[in-house]
């Protein structure tokens, strides 16, 4: 039977892993190449790199980071951040990324989802959605872009469904209000998106303990759980997360020795 995936996410800034709270106050959290290898050896089912470098110049360092990681890390690797066009997709895939996630650029140009899916396959296109509470929206959530700085007036559920129709093979769903708080995932948001799209939904933002992972899978139906801070700072290991999930009846891939 299919295991529920535990994904370790590395926010990479100018070639270093960082983590902030609600996307600000960045703290250095290590070398992404070493961390990716370590997490994959310790049982992470996938690795996700989010490049949050400030400038295009610095952004090129991500290619080197991905190439080095792909050489030594044999689990799927998703890379996102600053992807604007098909050329960026191709460059990242050539470096060894398996999937590419797009966010702001897809909102600006939804056709990019279709172009990429046609060219590289749906499995390669991850639509990253940063959502925020907004009662004026039918679903109760609005999508934001540029790391939460820009509001769009677009309903999160309608956008997710549109993205899937255009060819996105997976949705990486981040709750902006929960991100970095370690107070648990946004269960309501995850549930409404998860139950209403046909593709897998990765819950992101807010993981503070293995119990949070269990909760978002059981109560909200997430296909996968993603976390950053709790792994980087050694608060919890991948294994402790999987043990807790397994104890609660969620199938997971065993961490190998």
């Amino acid at each position: 039977m299919l295991s529920t995936r535990v994904i370790a996410c590395l926010d990479v800034h100018n070639g270093r892993t960082v983590k902030g709270i609600n996307f600000v106050n960045l703290q250095d959290a290590g070398d992404p190449v070493e961390q990716a290898k370590l997490y994959s050896d310790l049982g992470a089912d996938e690795i996700c790199f989010l490049d949050i470098s400030a400038t295009n110049d610095k952004r090129k360092t991500i290619y080197e980071v991905i190439s080095k990681t792909a050489d030594s890390c044999f689990v799927p690797l998703t890379v996102g951040g600053g992807v604007n066009d098909i050329k960026d997709f191709r460059n990242l895939l050539n470096c060894g990324a398996d999937k590419v996630s797009i966010n702001s650029s897809a909102v600006k140009n939804p056709d990019l989802i279709k172009q990429a899916a046609d060219k590289f396959g749906n499995q390669c296109v991850v639509l990253a959605i940063d959502a925020e509470n907004n009662d004026k929206m039918n679903s109760g959530y609005e999508i934001t872009t540029h790391g939460g700085r820009n509001k769009t007036g677009i309903d999160a559920l309608l956008w997710a469904q549109k993205g899937v129709n255009l060819g996105a093979g997976e949705i990486l769903l981040t709750s902006m209000s929960a991100d970095g708080t370690k107070k648990g995932y946004n269960l309501k948001l995850t549930k409404i998106i998860s139950e209403n799209v046909s593709v897998p939904v990765i819950a992101s933002g807010g993981a503070g303990s293995p119990k949070d992972m269990v909760e978002v899978v059981i109560k909200s139906g997430a296909s996968a759980v993603l976390a950053a801070s709790i792994f980087h700072f050694g608060i919890y290991s991948i294994k402790s997360v999987k043990d807790e999930m397994e104890k609660n009846g969620i199938l997971v891939r065993k961490c190998q020795d």
Binding site: L2, R5, F74, D118, Q123, G169, S198, P200, V201, S223
Partner: protein, 219 residues
């Protein structure tokens, strides 16, 4: 030994190359690895890997685009009987026909067609099953004595990502299946050629085990 990973414009070639090279180095195997569509190189190959990601029809077009490639593959795999491994869409191309996007003829090395996974059901936690079938899943191995499978354990998992599967009545071609909504052939083939629906190159230690077994295989 020469291992050629076929480059036909599809697939995560770098990941496949890395994984095979790592298995070769870790086990001190004597292989030269080429990622190529050069027919002369393919003619000299001792082992061939056909990767593939993306849509079936596009992958088939990619094969056809390289003049003489399919004939060379048939000569090497069907006539000369060298070890062959198809990965994901590379495995699906071994079937009779694909039905993704449009009806497309396959290589017809194995019986059956590539059809959409039926997913109108829920999992044990009550979650809707999603498409693609994406993530780590177990194998149910039918032929544990097969040299490529003999040390693979039942609780080992492999990384799958696909929306279509091989629907076949010829069960003796299925070496292992997995379960997602229904049984899905995971390893298929006969004689000297095998295809895997999952991605061994992304399946961590279990994947390396399978790749190493295949590299040592002398069918």
């Amino acid at each position: 030994m020469n291992l050629v990973i076929i480059d036909y414009g599809s697939g995560n070639l770098r990941s496949v190359e890395n994984a095979f090279k790592t298995s070769i180095n870790n086990n001190n195997l004597n292989f030269k690895v080429y990622v190529s569509n050069n027919l002369n190189l393919i003619k000299d190959a001792d082992y061939i890997v056909l990767p593939g990601v993306g849509a079936y029809a596009d992958c088939k077009k990619g094969l056809l685009k390289i003049e003489g490639l399919i004939d060379t593959l048939v000569e090497k795999v069907i006539v000369n009987c060298i070890p062959f491994l198809g990965i994901c869409v590379g495995m699906q191309l071994m079937a009779e026909q694909g039905f993704e996007k449009e009806k497309t003829a396959g290589l017809e090395w194995i019986d059956g067609n590539i059809e959409k996974i039926n997913y109108l059901s829920k999992d044990s936690l009550g979650r809707n099953l999603k498409i693609p079938h994406m993530g780590w899943n177990n194998l149910n191995i039918y032929n544990k004595k097969h040299p490529v499978l003999e040390n693979i354990l039942n609780d080992e998992q492999f990384y799958f990502v696909h929306s279509y599967y091989l629907n076949t009545l010829k069960k003796d071609q299925i070496l292992a299946d997995t379960y997602y909504s229904h049984k899905i052939p995971a390893i298929v083939g006969q004689k000297n050629y095998l295809g895997v629906q999952f991605h061994p190159e992304k399946s961590s230690k279990s994947g390396h085990k399978l790749i190493t077994n295949w590299l040592k295989w002398k069918p």
